[in-house]
Point group: C3
Chain length 355, copies 3
């Protein structure tokens, strides 16, 4: 299994203090995205004014600040300035929320835009530069924790937003890693209706809601070429409780992985394999299968992933193939095609480069 994610960090030595430093690194990616969910043909049923083929791109500049105390504790922080274009809708770069940490021995405490215990589970994401298919991940349908319009409903480091603003503790020793994370949201306060001068309601009153807590835990163990992991989240928010397990083998030229998650009652399986071809190429394939939501949950207000005559639910099988070619210098060509279980086809190809 090829390691294409090279470390090319630029290090700025500080003038007056050996311990403190700012590291600058990042990557750029750009290419074409074909997505049959879009159409700029007025005659199409799925017309949305966006071409099926658009430019997908990202430029990420990452700042890592750190220092070391006299007692050997490393204290640091990270944020990113990232520009994106998707669906022909480009934007200037914005910073995400900062993650702060203190590390001593195998222990790390994280604060702010935390990584999150479920997010940090080995064997969750694809073994590609985007961690998904193609150039931009193509929706990350390959994750067993993404089901039924409940995608990314766990605490995870946010590259474009403020993140969970939580707390986490990590511990590593030998092949073992443990991870606990916690976050809470402020309550959303009710608001009064806004009326015009005649007393007619312009903006209705809102009810407000109580902010929710998320607890998560992860355990992983590496033995030889294999890594097994389990993670779970308990949440106050609806349909966010989940448990995921994975086992992955890195067998030199080959990589294999099996993953499963119970997403508050919706099971999803994933099987993944990749193979180096020659000196510079790697091919990856995956297939996942998502079970139907329980009818009682739908009656209780949960989204419905079931296929019907008129709706392509996310129930069922997704699959895809990804190809990578290493150009040297931290650059590579990346291409991928996938069919999602709700009948969406995406094909992407382009270039990655790290700096």
């Amino acid at each position: 299994m090829k390691k294409v994610l090279l470390a090319t960090t630029a290090l700025i030595a500080t003038a007056s203090m050996a311990a403190a430093e700012v590291r600058i690194s990042g990557y750029g990616r750009f290419g074409l995205d074909y997505n049959d969910a879009h159409s700029n043909d007025l005659a199409d049923a799925n017309y949305d004014g966006i071409s099926e083929t658009t430019i997908t791109s990202r430029l990420r500049l990452q700042f890592d600040m750190s220092t070391e105390t006299d007692g050997g504790v490393v204290i640091g922080a990270r944020y990113r300035a990232q520009a994106e274009s998707r669906d022909n809708n480009p934007g200037g770069a914005t910073f995400n929320g900062a993650r702060f940490y203190a590390t001593y021995g195998g222990f790390t405490v994280g604060v702010g835009n935390i990584i999150g215990a479920v997010e940090n589970m080995p064997g969750l994401y694809l073994e590609t530069r985007s961690a998904g298919l193609g150039i931009d991940g193509a929706g990350f349908v390959s994750l067993v924790t993404n089901v039924n319009n409940e995608y990314f409903n766990w605490d995870a480091y946010s590259s474009a937003g403020a993140g969970a603003n939580g707390l986490e503790v990590l511990y590593s020793a030998g092949g073992f890693t443990g991870h606990l994370s916690y976050s809470t949201d402020n309550d959303i306060l009710p608001t009064a209706a806004v009326t015009d001068s005649a007393g007619d309601i312009i903006t209705p009153a809102t009810a407000g809601s109580l902010g929710g807590d998320r607890f998560a835990a992860m355990l992983a163990y590496t033995f030889g070429d294999w890594t097994a992991a389990i993670a779970g989240q308990s949440s106050d928010n609806a349909w966010e409780d989940k448990v995921a397990v994975s086992i992955a083998g890195d067998l030199g030229q080959f990589g294999v992985r099996l993953a499963y998650a119970d997403n508050d009652g919706i099971s999803k399986w994933g099987l993944y394999g990749n193979m180096d071809i020659g000196a510079a190429s790697n091919i990856l394939v995956f297939v996942t299968d998502e079970d139907a939501v329980d009818a009682a949950d739908v009656a209780a207000g949960r989204a419905d992933n079931r296929d019907t005559a008129t709706v392509d639910g996310t129930e069922g099988t997704s699959y895809g193939i990804h190809y990578s070619y290493d150009l040297g210098g931290g650059a590579s060509i990346e291409a991928g095609w996938r069919e999602s279980s709700n009948d969406n086809t995406t094909v992407q190809a382009g270039v990655y480069f790290s700096f």
Copy 2:
């Protein structure tokens, strides 16, 4: 009095011109903030959906650009990209407005996001890393120029906003520093009412207002271990005229300071002391006393700082204590507790690190 604000600037030498450079520096801070003004208990009178205890954090990256002309004039500029979390409301980093300057000999001209003459007065802020209590300053109630819901109503370098967009001149020679600053606002133009199709008013007309000027001046003189300073602001905006004086002594292990301001009729006194303990610790205490607003001013529309049976005005005494422990490498533990004159209790503790 301990100097914990170490200079750890990262300097990027330029390739083709010795005179021009970009310096990168900054700091991170994170910790917990207990503030009894908040509550996420629906039964509390001051329920606002925010926990009493939240994460407070900031990550500041500062860019200093400069060059030197053949005639020895240094021309430069500064801005910051700063991410903050307060009251469990995190955000991605944003840049503030730029301050430009030209320096020759003891003279400096500043343009844009100016420092401001009152802001630059020695003996105004606390001798801590936040320049206030605890991790994030805890509202900066210790400043004698902050009274009666008229906080920070003088021209000051803005770390998160665009700033005053003004002009300033500074001169230093020997122990003497002089500072003049000026800014003006654009007028706020009146707007017409917005009506719906039935002619009912949705958004009322606004009257507009004339933009105001602010002039400020500061003089400071250091003789031996002591520094005396006076500053004042004359403003077109209501209730912003003020005069402040301070005298501070840096007596090796001890620091003492006395400050006073007349804030357009509201007097405020402050007394401050700090002491090094052992090799790495420093303790600081302060007490301030704010007089009541004049009843005639209240009748003229000024905010009312007077304590009543139902309202905790800012009139009266505030006090606090701050503890700092130097960890080495530019990092320290900072903790503080303060009671403000309007019965607000804040306790904060966490970590600072410079880079």
Copy 3:
């Protein structure tokens, strides 16, 4: 003709990979802008609450990331964080959209916030640090492609926005440069009317519109001291088709230039000259003449540039003069005065410095 745009790029060498790098560069500028279109005197007909004389300033920090593949292809990207103040309305820095590129031999492919073929034509902009008059360009009335409230209606690298999100190919060999560029917009979808609780319309329905394509091409050839160029744009959007030509001579102490454009029926001529004076000074003058819009176009909905008794159209003659004094170290004094064809006078003076 003086070359004041010195390259002072700061280069951060990467730790582990010789090919990858991040370069940091930029410039600052600040000064005063007199513009008689503004007034903060309520008695003036053109009162808009903004003083005639305001601070104009910009601080630009540019990040250039690149790497080189084993096959010798350079892959890279650029974006900028830029803070501006105009008309006494300052702001914090924001990033623009990223431009990605791959270069091999004389060929370059660009993606995203492209330069654009018309924008890249030699002999389009003034030979000054702002590429226009004074400190901030003073509206760039000197460009023959800017007419009739249709300013900057071609694909061009955006320093403050997301840009065209297009594709371009450039080729250079010897004195020859060729450039093709293309971009497209998403359709703007129609929206339904928003009504209040009484059914009255608050926000009317909108019709939507089809997104437009822009194709552009440019050819330039340098022979000895002279450069000739031609560029054109074909656009789906109204009044954006245009052809421009230029010829410019860089004759040591003197520079001369002639430019012409047909802007979808509106012709504009420009004549430009500049001269070095002594070791550090340069003076530039220009005059342009814009023809009237066709009456049939106005009837078809096009803006009207014709002078009338009550309206100062952009038809007619604009002229200006610019002075530059090199201070050394990448800094210079820049000053300019111009009269635009619609009777607007602007005078600016201030300082530039590169880093």
